[in-house]
Every structure is written in C-alpha cells, then in structure tokens.
C-alpha cells in the first residue's frame, strides 16, 4: 500500500470540509493498522476516515445516516470514484437485479462514459425507484467497498433526479486479460460450454478473445437466454467476480449483443514435454453418474454425491497425474480418447478387465500406470486452473539430431 498517497487522499477530503487533517498523522495511523495489526489496506483507510469523521463530527462513510447537502461532494465520473468518497454524478441505470435482502430497495449497475459501478439503494433511504435504461443525477452518494469491489450506496441523504434526455452511451470492451473485479465488458467468443453444476444455473462455460479466456456463468432468470457456442458477443456491464484469485464473469446483469463475426481466440493451447511422474488415484476406468447433465465420477459403491446410488452407471476412462519437465510440474488430465491412444487400452478392453479380473478396476489402473509412468511424452492442451486439459498426448521419440547437438554442446566448451 502506498501510505502517503492514501493519507493525502484522506487529508484532502477533510480539508475540503474546512477541517485540518495532517497527512503525516494519518499516514502513521494507516501504517500502524496495516503493519502492526495486519488490517487490509482498504479497511484501514476506511477506519481512519471514519475515525476522523467522528472526531470532526461529520457523517461517516457507509453508515448511511445523515447526508450532507451539497458542498462536500465533488462532481466526478464513475471511474474516478474511490472507496470512502462521497460522489455526485450523472449516470444511466443499465441493469437492475433482485434485492438480496429486505434492507435493500434496489440494486443494479449504473454507468456513465467513464465506467460502471454496482449500486445499492437502502430501503431506509426512501429514494424514488429508478428504472432500467433511464438517466439520473445522483447527489451525495457514498462509495464504499464490498468484497474488494467498489460499490455505490444510496442512502437517505442522497438526492436522485431523473434526467429526461437520453444520451448515447457507448461502452468499450476491454481485453479479457485486462478485466479486474467490478463491472466489465468484453467482446468475446463462446469457446466452451460446460455441464451445469447447479440446477439454478442456466449456462456456464468459457469465453475467449485474443488476450485470454475467462469462465462465465448465467443463472436462471426470466428472459435470460443461453449463448450459442462458437458465436461472438459484445457483453457489457457483466459482473467480474474473483474467487481464489481467479476471475469469472457473471452475465446476469449484462447487456449482451450477438455479433455476426468471428474473432481469433488466444490458443491458451500449450504443449509441455516432460515425463509422467505420478498417476493419481481415480485414474483408469471410472464410473460416471448417468443422470443427464451430471456425469460426476461415482464412488466404488456407485454413489453420486448428488444423485445417490446409481446402479446403471456409465464407464469412462481418464488419467489424472503430474507431468514434470525438470523445472516445473504440471497437473494433467487426460480424457478417454487420449487415454486409449496413449495406453493402448480401449474402453471396451478396460471394461472386460474391470468385470472379469479378480482385481477389477484396480487392475486397469495398474496396467495403465505401468504403461505410462516414467515415460517421456508431449501433452498438448489448454491450461486451465493450473491443470492442462490434454487433448493430445504423444510419446517422445529419440532423435539422433538432438543427441548430436548435445554432444557438440558438451564437448564444445571443454
């Protein structure tokens, strides 16, 4: 955290209200909170701001009580609104979502030319209901932070005025790799569609553009339609969420326009050459849940975590393991066809072994392990979530040219 910058920011805010605030002192307080007590920088900034506000008898940020009329809030654009600030701006409500709690009257996304932000209208605010697609002037709202993302709070001190003119608002998409938590827009192609992992889920999958790929999800809601695989979409005002350091796009708030075009998509495809150093349990022949859209791997007793006992399971082959190039170890997942060609054991042959050999499915695991462990292979596939989903795996062949080159290298400098 840049303490002096944050301290300046806080100090400016108070001196604007005619209250002297020494940045040095503020910086000291911030440092103490962050360095001694391990407080998150954003939380430290917030608590120092609130502490000073109390001292000067000003309404504190995010408390939602007692608004200040005019004066204190600066007219600004959404992109420049930082957590802890009071803002006044004009924007368009581009999405409304169902309130998550009775304390909330309305929630959604509001945008201007510079960007977009999630907003919440407290029920206590007694604010007029806003409609999607209309422009409003919002005075004295508070920006705070929720789950690391800036969020606009409309409280009882906020004034909302509808603006009758409809201004053009053309958002610009950003490359997928430049997305950050909050609200974002992309122009991307649907490159994968995954089985829904939840009954409320309408669709999930992978979007890609030239810069990278990102997971997307859409929840069931009236009026929502699935995206078509292979199609290109302009997607605006989607929620960019972060989980375990990975981003995903929630499209429920988004404005989605299909485009009749094709765009190049980053391969994301990598090829790793190395040796298979571990075959994990759960490799070999497995049983999958036959319920449509489930496909989970069953336990030995044919138990599916969701659909319980499934005696009419479906057999499948897979190998989970580690591929090691001597510098880095890659988690690999091989699907059925790749397993068949690498091990030379077909699904039918594996079934035959599983059902007739005294060791059953274990025997398939052991034969596959002995066939691939310690071997040099090249795995091609998409790296996702720290794991390579392998779509092709071939054995490395001995090349005498490589041998000769190494002999030269070793002999050359001796």
């Amino acid at each position: 955290m840049d303490f002096s910058e944050a301290a300046e920011r806080i100090s400016r805010k108070f001196s604007k209200d005619g209250q002297p605030a020494d940045p040095k002192k503020i910086e000291g307080k911030l440092r103490r909170l962050v360095q001694e007590f391990g407080v998150q920088p954003s939380e430290a900034e917030r608590s120092v701001t609130n502490e000073l506000a109390k001292e000067y008898n000003l309404p504190s940020a995010g408390s939602g009580t007692g608004g200040r009329s005019g004066g204190g809030t600066e007219e600004k654009t959404i992109a420049r609104a930082a957590p802890g600030e009071w803002v006044t701006f004009e924007g368009k409500v581009v999405a409304l979502s169902a309130p998550a709690s009775p304390a909330i009257a309305q929630g959604g996304i509001i945008a201007d030319e510079s960007g977009a932000i999630r907003f919440v209208v407290w029920a206590k605010a007694n604010a007029p209901a806003m409609t999607e697609g209309s422009w409003y002037r919002i005075e004295s709202a508070v920006v705070d932070e929720y789950k690391g993302v800036a969020n606009l709070k409309i409280h009882s001190g906020t004034t909302i005025k509808e603006i009758s003119e409809d201004r053009a608002l053309i958002p610009t998409p950003v490359p997928i790799k430049d997305l950050h938590p909050g609200i974002g827009g992309v122009r991307a192609k649907v490159i994968q569609e995954w089985d829904a992992s939840h009954e409320r889920m309408l669709q999930s999958g992978l979007l890609g553009d030239e810069s990278g790929t990102i997971k997307f999800v859409m929840w069931k809601e009236p009026g929502k339609e699935k995206l078509a695989i292979g199609s290109v979409y302009n997607i605006f005002y989607a929620q960019v969420d972060e989980f375990n350091g990975r981003l995903s796009l929630n499209l429920n708030t988004a404005t989605i326009m299909q485009e009749d075009a094709d765009i190049p998509v980053s391969g994301g495809e990598s090829a790793v050459r190395g040796s298979i150093v571990h075959i994990a349990p759960g490799s070999g022949i497995i049983k999958r849940c036959p319920v449509e859209g489930c496909n989970r791997a069953l336990s030995r007793q044919n138990y599916c975590p969701v659909h319980e006992i499934q005696p009419n399971f479906v057999y499948d082959l897979r190998i989970k393991g580690w591929l090691d190039d001597g510098e880095k170890t890659h988690n690999i997942l091989l699907q059925r066809d790749v397993v068949e060609s690498l091990t030379g054991i077909s699904l039918d042959a594996a079934k035959e072994i599983a059902e007739n050999n005294p060791l059953g499915m274990d025997e398939v695991f052991l034969r596959m392990r002995d066939a691939v462990l310690g071997r040099y292979v090249i795995c091609h596939g998409r790296e996702f979530d720290n794991r390579i989903l392998v779509n092709k795996c071939e054995r490395v062949k001995f090349e005498s040219s490589e041998h000769a080159a190494l002999l030269n290298r070793a002999g050359g400098a001796s």
């Binding site: 375990n244 350091g245 040796s275 150093v277 571990h278 580690w322 090691d324 190039d325 001597g326 510098e327 880095k328 170890t329 392990r369 002995d370 462990l373 310690g374 071997r375 040099y376 720290n386 490395v396 062949k397 001995f398 005498s400 490589e402 041998h403 000769a404 190494l406 002999l407 290298r409 070793a410 002999g411 400098a413 001796s414």
Partner: protein
C-alpha cells in the same frame, strides 16, 4: 535456476509440487549438503547439487542391477540402479507400500524409471551415502533410458552454465559447500554419458 516459481505471483496456499530434477549418479554421489526450506515440520528437505541447484525430488532412468529384501519386522527393499556415470542407491520401505510392491515385482536386470527423494545418510565409518527413497518405479524400454540420458545431460549442462554465471543464491551456496568441486567436471561427465549412446 534463480527464479523460484513460488515467487512469481502465485496465490498463497496454492500447492506446487516440487519438480523432479534430472541428475546423473556421478553428480548425485558428490552431494554432502542437505537443508530444509523453512522452519515448519512439514517444510521440504532439499539436497544441494554441486552444480548449484536444490533438489527435493529426482527422476532417473537406468538399469536395476540388483535388489535385496532386508529387515525382519520392518521389511524394506534396497536396489542399485546404474546409469552411464555411476550407481544410484535406491530404497523403498513399508512407509511407501506402493513403491515397495512395485520394486518387489521388478526382476533385475531391467531398465527402470524411478521417481524419488534423495537423502543423505552418514554411515558408521563416517562416510556419507546418498540414497533415493522411491516414490514409484516402473519397468521401461531402452528408448526411455536413452531419452533420459539426453534429458539429464541437457539439464546438467544448463546447471553448469548457470553455475559459471554464478549469481543464483543456490549457486553461491554450492560454491561455499563444495569448495573442492569444479562444476566443469560435470560437463565432461555429461559428454561421456552421451558418448555411450550408440548413434
């Protein structure tokens, strides 16, 4: 290698498996320095290679020339795996039941691929033995052995070159720990190993 992969922006807590280094028996035999990375009981243990790289795990392919079952209560297997530069001493005990069963099954002589963890032992006479605790061992063909010799030679040459540059912390540590070893000897060793493969 100076850049530790864990320093390159990984999220805390994300598990990263230690890579299996490729090292010839002739180099592993010279190891005398073993250390822990961190204070934790579970922190990984590394053997420092004379060419200046830490190694928690190694991958080797060679010929299993001999194996022995030992112990009464605690059964374990010992074996010798030969590469073009020397001999690896491998062992698998009842704490690694899968590896022990794999090793028990192999009939010497055979080409084997071994993934395991190097350890230093002090023998009663004071000399140090480097042995490899097997995680897994499988029988492979000669092609795999030849590929490994190329792989190990290439990695050895990479390390010798990096050691010459001499800036990585582990390289500096290796120079302190092995003052009498000139990493250049391993270039010669790699050459001799490569020369043993028939063209």
């Amino acid at each position: 290698m100076s850049a530790n992969p864990r320093d390159t922006g990984r999220k805390e807590g994300a598990f990263e498996r230690e890579p299996a280094r490729r090292v010839f028996a002739g180099e592993l035999r010279e190891c005398r320095y073993q250390f822990k990375d961190g204070e934790d009981e579970k922190s990984p243990t590394f053997v420092l290679l004379p060419t200046g790289e830490r190694s928690n795990r190694i991958f080797l392919v060679g010929t299993l020339t001999e194996k022995q079952r030992q112990g009464e209560q605690n059964i374990f297997y010992r074996g010798r795996v030969v590469d073009p530069t020397g001999t690896f001493f491998i062992m698998a005990g009842s704490y690694q039941p899968e590896a022990m069963q794999q090793l028990a099954k192999v009939e010497a002589p055979a080409f084997v691929a071994v993934i395991g963890k190097p350890n230093l032992y002090q023998k009663p006479d004071g000399s140090v033995l480097v042995s490899v605790r097997v995680e897994s061992i499988t029988v492979v063909d000669k092609d795999t052995r030849d590929l490994w010799v190329l792989d190990a030679a290439e990695r050895t040459l990479d390390r010798v070159d990096a050691s010459k540059a001499g800036t990585a912390p582990d390289v500096i540590k290796a120079k302190e720990q092995y003052p009498t070893i000139d990493p250049a000897v391993f270039r010669k060793m790699a050459y001799d190993a490569l020369a043993q493969i028939k063209i």
